[in-house]
Amino acid sequence: MKRVLPAAIVILISVMAVLAIVRVRFSSDVFELLPQDLPEARGLEQINRYFSRDAQLIITLDGQSARAVSEATASLASTLSQQKSVIADVFREVDMERIVAEGGPLVAWAWFNGSPERLALLERRLIHPQSRETLEKSLEEIDDAFDTESALLRSYDPLQLSQFGSNPEGEGGPSFDPMRSSSGKFEILYVEGGGVDFSDYREVRGWLDKVQSLASQWLKEWNGKGTKDMDVEVGYTGTPAFMSEVGAGMERDMTISVLLTLVLISALFFLVHRQVTPLIWLLAAMMGILAITLTIAELALGELSVISVGFAAILMGLSVDYAIVLYREALGNPGSPRTLRRAVGPGIAWAAVTTAAVFLSLNLSSLPGLAELGNLVALGILVGALVMLFGFAPVAVQFAGKRSRGSARDWVPSSMRKGAAGVLAALVPLAAIWSVLMIEKPVIEAEFHPFRMKESPALIAWNEMREKLHGESQTTPAVITAANFGELHTQLQAFKKRSSKAQKAGLIESVILPDSWVPHPEYQRRNAKLLRALIKEGPRLLSEIDEAGFTKEGMDLTREVINSWTHYLDQHDGKQPVRPAGSLAKWTVDQIVTESEDVVAAVVALTPVNPSEREWVTAICDDHSNVASLPSLGTALNERIGEDLWKIFVPMLVLLTAVLALVYRSWRDLFLTLLALLFGGSVIVILTVWTPLSWNSFNVCGIPLLFGIGLDFSIHMLFALRRSGGDIGAVRKRMGKAVAFCGLSSAVGFGSLATASADGLSSLGVVCAIGILANTFVAVMLLPSWYCLVHPVSNSAADSGDQVD
């Protein structure tokens, strides 16, 4: 019975923790993690929200010859189209046949929605007898065409309905987005999915697995046909692919980082203490802290983001420190849980508060994702301190006493000699300053994107697609939003003015505006009457086309346009603008204009002269106009983080110094703590200058974290040195080992993030792990010697040397 109850408690806590973890919901939306006051962040989020289709997968095909790719694409499209349960539609490049067969509604709508002056010109071309002249002109152009393809296109449009007249400067689209490279050896397919909820990444993953399985089977058969020159390779990209990768990445990150941390910390604890039962209780306590924190987080936040999934490993690495401090103290001074709490409680409490404060200071950062991470860790730290002080303290008292004195090895090295420690205290910071001055390496990586996924097949396929289809073109999309289509036209005109100015100033090379393709309520209202008159001329026009020598195929487009006008006028109520009908028309215009419940949006294509600079962004953007520009976003984030460091770090340092002054009430001990922080920081600086390790807009936010943790270690060590009257040997045996363990466990917690999928989180983990190890070295090896240097009264104890267990 005595053993059953504790075992049951441990199992119950573990089950609760596992349930809490399994219930966690992940958000694969990375854009909400960017500062929303940046036009680039808003632009990227809007492109994703309004124009990327959750259910639209892009399949890329790459082969040795244009014929191979063309035939393979047709075959794959046909195979996938038959899978009606998972695939709603498949789009290939819009070719001439499709334009002729399905272009009628689009052409009709373009006239219906275009300027009335332009429609009037069309009307003049089509009235009798001008219509016959138009037909004669078409026949002449067909006769005179240099190439057969041009002649053919004209022959399908005898009345030249697809000639909308000269475009105003800067107006364009929809130029059918190229889906085939100029060599023909690369082509893409758009696959519209169906049958699942495309907002849930788990369902998307299941759907994607099915589609990939179908495509893999097809590929095996296709490439197995024998001729190597017909082989193709297939890639997958687009929203479903990214969602699936991000979601799976987050699940993997959380699992790996938590498991890795648990395993390594367990191994460390066992190596040091050689006890299993307290280890099990320790693990249960850590899982309990995680479960409580996750439950609170779920209530407060709902979903975890790709960055905040890293909080669990960090939290475990930090909260285990409190358990170790308790355990080490219990080993040296056996007593009751109350006496234990009285001895180390203040230190743990101060450490928890200062660490939580440091993580909470991330709320001052411009990156919402980082703020979320900081809040979760801060919450977890406070929960962890309470759980350890009141939950683990009794365990520590119970089991520390049972540990045999000879069961652990003396694994912490002795402190450095005072002289050497003193010299290092001066040399290392000087070396850091010299390194920064002498080496010309950018302080922060220029184009770093914190939420970019490492090893992302979807991203590789995306970049390949952009390179092969768009080449050197640096077109950047801008999103213009408004409450309705009338206002959208006003916003577009205002954007046109600003971008013209920016062009004249040499900031932008070109701008293509989609004015003609945005539904225009006023134009449609004015055009309705004229269109009714044109529809009445339909039978006459078709008869003239027939007499001129065109076949039924030659009349099809004209017939479709007239029928579509009838359909649009039936739909038109004079208030709401009519959208284009037909799958080709809808698919084409939806790439440029979109309408949701309370917002309408249009996309503009522009080419900045220097994409990574920000002057052009501030020149053209406002509340209704944002740009989806990754290069300038990198610049903006670096600027922001630079500002944040001054905004967060300096005040935090001042505040902490004041708090420490109150805590220590000794300028010498305050000096020692600040020296320890300076030394640890200098080590990191030297490493970032002389090794491949580098700062970026994300991991630079780890600086406050490193200072907070370094502070922790200093506080523990200094309190211990004070209590022992400067007895380095005694401090090394107990607190030194505890701090060393804490440092290693925290480094493990952060270091496990090196395996994270997101670049930002991974680099944060690496820098923090290295920084913590540096802080640990300082606290255990150097700080005691420095203490003896500045507290001469304590030197007699130090000179007696280290005692050996």
């Binding site: 244009a66 067909i142 240099f146 393809e149």
Partner: protein, 221 residues
């Protein structure tokens, strides 16, 4: 007796028919090389041709006469015109393609590499060796018919778009090019029949760089 003779005649014609339509798959490259060898050493060419277009959207054929010049000295120069007086003139010098409409006094210039149509392939001239041929075309096969070889190819790259098959028709005996047939995916077709071929004619430089005085720039869509 008559019935036997009749049946024999049918059999012979069937055999001939089979021979006429023989697929010289195995000797395809040989046939192509033979044709290409007729181009070797021919730097300047003038071809008078008849162009016949059959479009699925038009009831009647479009038949026109024209002249084509190719000059491969100092880079490929090309001039193609139809009608007399010319209704359309197309020249290519280096990488620039010029299309002129004398009747409407309009012209359009564009980079030759950007043209996405089958005639733009011909503007680069006929290949003179196997490597050049392979760079421009993918050989689909060679068929024999009525004393000719029909070399069926697919143009490589974007130029292939819309083209079902391009066929160079050569004389079986000497391998000389007789016509070029083009079939598009919708079933429309074009045939350029070489009526008269002159090798090494005297050329005027102005032929490839016509005077644009009085012409205005346009965009022929």
């Amino acid at each position: 007796m008559q019935r036997v003779t009749f049946q024999l005649l049918i059999l012979i014609s069937l055999i001939s028919g089979v021979e006429l339509m023989a697929d010289t798959k195995g000797g395809g490259e040989q046939v192509v090389r033979r044709w290409l060898s007729t181009n070797a050493g021919v730097d300047v060419l003038k071809v008078e041709f008849t162009q016949i277009r059959k479009l699925t959207s038009l009831k009647s054929l479009i038949r026109q006469h024209g002249v084509l010049w190719i000059d491969r000295r100092a880079g490929a120069r090309f001039r193609w015109q139809i009608g007399n007086p010319p209704r359309t003139i197309v020249t290519r010098v280096k990488d620039e393609l010029l299309v002129m409409r004398p009747r409407s006094l309009q012209y359009e210039k564009s980079p030759a590499g950007k043209s996405k149509n089958s005639m733009a392939i011909l503007a680069g001239g006929f290949p003179r060796d196997w490597e050049e041929f392979q760079k421009k075309y993918e050989l689909l096969g060679v068929k024999s018919l009525n004393g000719t070889h029909r070399i069926n190819v697919q143009p490589r790259g974007q130029l292939a778009h819309g083209v079902r098959v391009l066929t160079f028709v050569t004389e079986s005996a000497k391998g000389i090019l007789q016509s070029i047939d083009l079939t598009l995916r919708d079933g429309s077709s074009q045939q350029i029949v070489f009526d008269r071929v002159v090798t090494g004619p005297q050329l005027n430089d102005n032929l490839f760089e016509p005077d644009l005085t009085g012409y205005r720039a346009a965009n022929f869509k």
